[in-house]
Symmetry: C2
Subunit: 428 residues, 2 copies
Amino acid sequence: MDASESPGVTEGVDALTLTTPGDGKVEKVPNGVEATEDDSDVVDPWNVASTNDEGIDYDKLIKRFGSSKIDEELIARFEKITGKPVHHFIRRGIFFSHRDFHTILTLKEQGKPFYLYTGRGPSSGSLHIGHLIPFYMAKWLQETFDVPLVIQLTDDEKSLWKDLKIEEAIKLAYENAKDIIAIGFDPEKTFIFNDLDFIGKCPAMYQNMIRIQKCVTFNQVKGIFGFGDSDIIGKISFPAVQAAPALSSTFPFIFTGKKPVHCLIPCAIDQDPYFRMTRDVAPRLGFPKCALIHSSFFPALQGAKSKMSASEQNSAVFLTDTPKQIKNKINKYAFSGGRATVEEHRKLGGNPDVDVAFQLLKFFLENDNKLEEVRVAYKNGDMLTGELKKLAIEAVSPIVEEHQKARKALTDETVAKYFEIRPLKFAN
Amino acid sequence: MDASESPGVTEGVDALTLTTPGDGKVEKVPNGVEATEDDSDVVDPWNVASTNDEGIDYDKLIKRFGSSKIDEELIARFEKITGKPVHHFIRRGIFFSHRDFHTILTLKEQGKPFYLYTGRGPSSGSLHIGHLIPFYMAKWLQETFDVPLVIQLTDDEKSLWKDLKIEEAIKLAYENAKDIIAIGFDPEKTFIFNDLDFIGKCPAMYQNMIRIQKCVTFNQVKGIFGFGDSDIIGKISFPAVQAAPALSSTFPFIFTGKKPVHCLIPCAIDQDPYFRMTRDVAPRLGFPKCALIHSSFFPALQGAKSKMSASEQNSAVFLTDTPKQIKNKINKYAFSGGRATVEEHRKLGGNPDVDVAFQLLKFFLENDNKLEEVRVAYKNGDMLTGELKKLAIEAVSPIVEEHQKARKALTDETVAKYFEIRPLKFAN
């Protein structure tokens, strides 16, 4: 899974594959053949790219994927049922799309159980700040709903897709887990697993993989993911591995009852194809369709249309960066919506919508009033790019610093606790 | 795996797929399209059929599969190194083909380690006598070489291919295991596992599956197994599951050293496509190519060209049949090579090569002299079909009876011992 990786990760855009809502038909075929419609955006689990400075057109994406917009009505119901304001990621449209979220709210209303599932494909040892988004959301949802959370690290996927040995992929999964744990998940309600170990420790998981693999044909994964005849067979059957955790019986040690438990998945929208497939299969196996809330993509420092790569040190703020590195990177590389000269900027104002420093604030500055002040000041020219970047640095630096402290404090025992196959505590 | 099932099993011959040696090119395409050459024989892991009364042309098959004939020279070397006569299955050409068996003999000669691997796809609760052949051979090889033996029950395969629920497939695997154990394998040197449980208990197995799935493309399994676009993704990736046990690191609890251990696979020749693929992949993963010895197919009662089906009570002698049922079945259904009338038979003689009663003796009558006497007497008309059938009944009945006794004596504890993940004892 790449739920946490996708924001900003847009590497390898040679295979242009656009998937359509529902029916899983392919609009673009793989191997670099261009799409006949909507050439500007490419969104699938391995590629995210746009030719537009403001990035992906998310309204179009909702239409294409057949999901639903997170609208005022949903937010109002959410706040009414939980009795607290929604997370600023939802308020600000960073999580902008959903499937069946109303069902989850109804379950909450009725005091019925459900669980959260998210994950990450561990392709690099060091996460960047964009990777935090779905996990921040998962943590907030876990606290808000008081439900169990399972986190899948798809080291098998990364071994299949990248030039990664099994042993290296497992090591990366373990390193990434530390970053995830440092975010502060409740150990009594959170189970973290990496496929290359867990599948060999839980017969229920492999059995569900087979159940799912029995319901999906090559034609279907070809349509949904753009796989071709020259793809390795590991890729072709992998979607079942990412689907299985959305069936509660995959975790018999957590869900001890016989009744299937609903599942809510916070993830970046590029992961939706996996769960469209899962939602198609689940009812045939006697399970409810998983619900989803989708995030937009985290912009690369060079701007929302350019690709951010974990292998390019200067395209992202890593969780391992020093305060000095963060300052330098944002000052030097963050795409600016400002004008060419100070005079022009004062006169015409900047464009916060394409300004990466402002986007960073949108993600990490919690205070709505402060954010709006900055937006207005930048837009009307009162605030210069340098000042805006300073604010972004001030917002990002302490987050990274705190994270490093929390990660450093982790012992192997603490990490092992999250990986332990065990019952979780939850109020149901 | 269907190593033990294939003798005589010729069900579902609608997909005509003939695979070529080495390069894995398909001579016949699936979905019922006829082959352009050699229309008489169909041999793949799911289909075995011939239009010839004497059954498959095995010399042609060796040529087509690119394997080697078990010849006098190999047998002589075998007997020299082991210091005992070869099994009558080898002497009589029932095991007729091999790959790299000389390598195994050299290892034996040098006192170097290797292990045996065979298996069965548990598609029915009751085995028939044909299913015994590869296991009899495995037992004899284990005793002769004093090496560990792993037996895979591919309940996942059967669940994917047949209309079998996961739970039912596991139950069949367990029932079949009892029949296998009743054959008398040394519990200290034999490990039996069913995929649907074992893969969830041994991370090394799943990790090797992924390693293999990374080396094989859809194009390749299409060529080797005849899979098509409308096949389920579980089928497409399954060959890796049958390949993994041929890599010794799949069993870290048995093979504790770091050095890869050679593997010898006794199986029916229809399973060869799996291991051609395995032999292609193994060196790329740092493992030696598995060696193989191939058996011919066990004839259906109705004759070597007709199909034997576990669902047709009268086409096979089951290990659950009573002496009376065996007698009736052989008398009533066993295809006869005799003449239309006694007079004609006395004058012209019978044809032992197509006579199923004689074939049964070839499999189960150990005494070579006695077998040759019968053959000559039948061929020159001294022996009538009724007499030959009586001999076949006398050969088969005690085997089935003994088997039933041994199976009945098995306790759950004994069975569990074979499934236990544990070190095996062997002289290396």
